[in-house]
Symmetry: D2
Subunit: 213 residues, 4 copies
Amino acid sequence: MSTVLLTGFEPFAGDDANPSWDAVSLVEVSGAELVTQLLPCVFDESIAVLRQAVVAHRPDLVIAVGLAGGRDVITPERVAINLNDARIPDNSGRSPVDEPIVDGGPAAYFTGLPIKAGVAAMRAAGVPAAVSHTAGTFVCNHVFYGLMHLIATERPGMRGGFVHVPYSAEMTAAAGASRPSLPVETIAAGLAVFVETCLKTSDDLRVSAGTLH
Amino acid sequence: MSTVLLTGFEPFAGDDANPSWDAVSLVEVSGAELVTQLLPCVFDESIAVLRQAVVAHRPDLVIAVGLAGGRDVITPERVAINLNDARIPDNSGRSPVDEPIVDGGPAAYFTGLPIKAGVAAMRAAGVPAAVSHTAGTFVCNHVFYGLMHLIATERPGMRGGFVHVPYSAEMTAAAGASRPSLPVETIAAGLAVFVETCLKTSDDLRVSAGTLH
Amino acid sequence: MSTVLLTGFEPFAGDDANPSWDAVSLVEVSGAELVTQLLPCVFDESIAVLRQAVVAHRPDLVIAVGLAGGRDVITPERVAINLNDARIPDNSGRSPVDEPIVDGGPAAYFTGLPIKAGVAAMRAAGVPAAVSHTAGTFVCNHVFYGLMHLIATERPGMRGGFVHVPYSAEMTAAAGASRPSLPVETIAAGLAVFVETCLKTSDDLRVSAGTLH
Amino acid sequence: MSTVLLTGFEPFAGDDANPSWDAVSLVEVSGAELVTQLLPCVFDESIAVLRQAVVAHRPDLVIAVGLAGGRDVITPERVAINLNDARIPDNSGRSPVDEPIVDGGPAAYFTGLPIKAGVAAMRAAGVPAAVSHTAGTFVCNHVFYGLMHLIATERPGMRGGFVHVPYSAEMTAAAGASRPSLPVETIAAGLAVFVETCLKTSDDLRVSAGTLH
């Protein structure tokens, strides 16, 4: 039976909750052993915690999940770039600007997951989703790049990638905000479908998920 | 026991579904008799069907619900204006431009519902919501104005208003779209809370729900 | 020769500038005498200053202009509602909630201007524009309603209305923001076209400018 | 004196104009020889035309400009990825899906331009601008990647990068659309400032221009 490691982030930017962790905590998958890990929203330390979880659990599949506040739908990420550029401080107070994540590492890694098949499966399950081509330059992209670099340099048999999720409906309601959101339960359902699709799909769909810009 | 009439619309603009009706069909309220009615997305005929339902069921409270595709949250409407101005044809093919809904009627009616209390209650229940100050100039505003005019001229003891809902997550997923949405079940839960708040609230909250523009 | 009164607002909400006044200050029209007036962003006082300018200059046409930060294009307003509901304090610190602008006044006034013809003329001149159906519930709607009430009750021969403008490109650049904006000069050019269209148009175009919600 | 090559694209996706070329055609810079080149909105052929212009003019600096319809401000791009994924056909009817731009090329190239200094200079000149971290997966990203690959493999002394521009106000007005836009003249003024900043800046500013996602 495959082992799956799902990670979510702690709250940041003054929020009380982070829907990535709230949803990851609710995910249930059949036919695989699921391990979850909370990551700190801190440069470097987040990758270190992820690495420890990989060493401890030896997962076949790792999916890191983070919040993309303002997005409308669940967005599996296509590409991680070798860049830290923090618009706000991380949870330790650090704000790296224009630093590589890995000195001498490649400029980018593409995801190792069948993201188009995963988006199609989430949509078929009634959960809005779309492929994204930028994970930003903060801790989410940082962890995504760190994960792909770990796979490329140390764990060639492991598969991994990153998924961004919208604000939760619950946080949005509590904040009295008018912004796109989905209930935590819907996000969790989408993540479960995504995990199961990754487990049973080796080659991604050849359908367009491109963007004009 | 109070009787509540909840209406939703049939699909329009080429859609296969209308989340207003999908959600209304799922609403359950305690402590009141609930009657639901599907309205055609047609000028005049929609008001006629609403009126027949009012005559048949003699409700104490009428809440008409419609789709506001593109909005992030559930939005009780504050004001109906005496204007038809159709950007697209209604489901009968008619596109009235700059016509009053009621000849000689007042320019506008304010809602008869405690919309601020209703928004607060939906938020407390984890459902994103906000007050809106425009119901547009299509069939939704038309029905809202027609309902308020009916109350003003013929049914002084009845209370009524209008609520716009976002796209459903299910429609959005099926369309492969990236746009704000909420699951039908979440919308229905929000509407149930709204109905119950209206039933037990006579004076609205005095908190700001204003917009700068 | 006709006399035209154009008003703009002082800065509010912590801004250093208000593009409504910046643009009004640049407007030039041919074939009419143009008077401009700065309005305070204060409930009641704004209407008082507008009234004084009307008394002093006896204009044939009054167009009040205000900022609608976040809108993409110039938006002549269709309807003013009899409601103050301040989300933020005005420049005197007052935040009225759910108060009528005029006790016993009608729920709403429709604009007295040919806004569809004005939008068409701005577009023909290369300036993006669209009709709006809500002027909000803050000082802009307040002044718009006050102006229409003045016309209805005291100045039947005068014509008047309201136009919202986007953020200026200059303010947006200075703020380092990513938000829709137009250069002050473009806004002024649009307003000049709008004024000239109002001067020469008595009956508005019968084309749809409606919204679905 | 330095030679600068500025490119813009032909219209695509059914548009009558492309503000990238409209603006590039208006750019004037002092202290450098400026050459402009129209590129076809066609995979591969666009890179071939760009290469020919580089061979013919031997520029010191190449800035390719493209349309990012829907963006609010001018956005110099930070990173090009080695991926074609066409959501719509290019102007020759081809829609490559999940193909590398250069077989065996690096996953991404970072821009060779001081984009943060360029954004700061545009803002100081009153033109709204911001750094972008995704150029999409269509012909814009394709040309950007092709340019950076040409520099990396054949023209080490040449500098180059890509700038996305919003819809023009003129196109937006003609389309009767409500969407973010800037006048062609404003876009051209911004591009001129950007070119001049690149000419006089070797090391980019160390300020954050990051995004959370």
